[in-house]
Symmetry: C2
Subunit: 218 residues, 2 copies
DNA sequence: TGATTTTTTTAGATAAGTCTAAATTTATTA
DNA sequence: TAATAAATTTAGACTTATCTAAAAAAATCA
């Protein structure tokens, strides 16, 4: 079995490698885990010994197939717990992530499969991220940030790129949550702010920065 | 915050002091936690420093009010998770304890209060043990082992004194589970074996050892 | 009571995970 | 390409929790 710490490293490497694509740097892992580069190097050696990552000094790291399987399983647990917390315990979408950071380390596979069944096999977590199935298969829908939509186009909010509670609370206040249809009414020349019309006729203005972090299907 | 290890020590001391009453010995803690006496001594010093236990060298330990509050909170979490696992995820009563040993360390009080509400404030866990409320109040029903019942008396199974999976599986096979009414049909002179009649007319024979570990109300 | 056994504590090691400071390697840029 | 800057690794130290072996205290009993 892997320790909580090892699991957190593997998960971070996984997330960094899906966004960054290439091999992951020591410093980026340190930043993600809020730790120091020296600590990361120590852990990378250990994970390499366990054949969970490919690591050559100064070269960055990537996950092995086994390491990726471990990481995806933690992501699966994280997202299923998030769904449970929101759906059954009625937490808000900005509250579930922190709690899931603990729950994702509960080890039992039987438990998570039963939770999956109890929740009726949800496909997406409260932030729109896909939940891997028990075989580690994970959907990859093509989502676009609102910032690339042209004036007068429409989209449905399906995810976010940023999970900070403050950001999620802000979106909730604007009623910009998963499943909501938006219509790009205007884009301000000066700073690229986006004016959205919602189905309920409300109109909200968001900065380009915010628009980049909201994902939609067209 | 206390570490998992500290929480496990406090919980063990709590359980040992409710069954044994007086102050708890180093060796009994070591036995309960499957560790060595030397390790226990080290931890006792730390817990005493944190004012969670009363400890004087060679004198055994007892919980302070604060230590007891921490312990009871862990027991609350343990039993609520056990109830969830059985009620919602349909685990068997011999499977839930091990899983709850992990879940009891999830820290959020908000989470456990919401879980409590979701489960509709259960009073007892799957083994008949009372679930402390959020203020740490815990019911203490007077339960008697079947072994003290005279011939021809009746009782309702309300708990067990032994939580080992093998024991619980054995009881389940005999249909001796929580809520079942039993009638003491006979007690064998030779070895004090107890012959029970159930409501469904079935008759089962259990050893005195087993009879001691099944608790009933009359 | 005095000797023996049991219990508990101390001493000293080990392993995991973290840190700071220094050294080394790689990347940048003049 | 040589100097400088940035990234990474190493060295050495610290904390937590654990262990074995030895010492000390308490309990038992002849
Ligand atoms: Mn999350
Ligand atoms: Mn999420
Ligand atoms: Mn239990
Ligand atoms: Mn129980």
């Amino acid at each position: 079995m892997n320790s909580f710490t090892e699991e957190n490293y593997l998960k971070s490497i996984y997330h960094l490698s899906v966004t960054d694509d290439e091999s992951v740097s020591t410093n980026s892992i340190a930043a993600a885990l809020n730790t120091k580069a020296a600590s990361v190097t120590d852990m990378l050696k250990k994970l390499a010994d366990k054949k969970l990552i490919n690591y050559a000094k100064y070269q960055g790291v990537s996950l092995t197939d086994e390491g990726r399987a471990v990481a995806i399983n933690i992501v699966r647990k994280h997202r299923l717990w998030e769904f449970f917390l929101m759906e059954k315990l009625h937490f808000k979408w900005d509250e579930v992530h922190e709690l899931a950071e603990e729950l994702e380390h509960i080890s039992s596979a039987e438990l998570i499969d039963r939770l999956d069944r109890f929740l009726e096999y949800p496909k997406y977590d409260p932030h729109g991220d896909p939940i891997p199935d028990r075989n580690g298969c994970i959907k990859t829908d093509e989502l676009k940030p609102i910032s690339v939509l042209p004036i007068n186009s429409r989209g449905t909010i399906m995810g976010v790129r940023e999970h900070a509670p403050a950001f999620l609370q802000y979106l909730a206040k604007l009623q910009l949550t998963i499943g909501i249809q938006v219509h790009v009414a205007d884009i301000i020349d000066y700073d690229q702010s986006v004016i959205l019309k919602l189905n309920n006729k409300n109109s909200v203005t968001i900065s380009r920065e915010v628009a980049k972090n909201i994902l939609v299907t067209i």
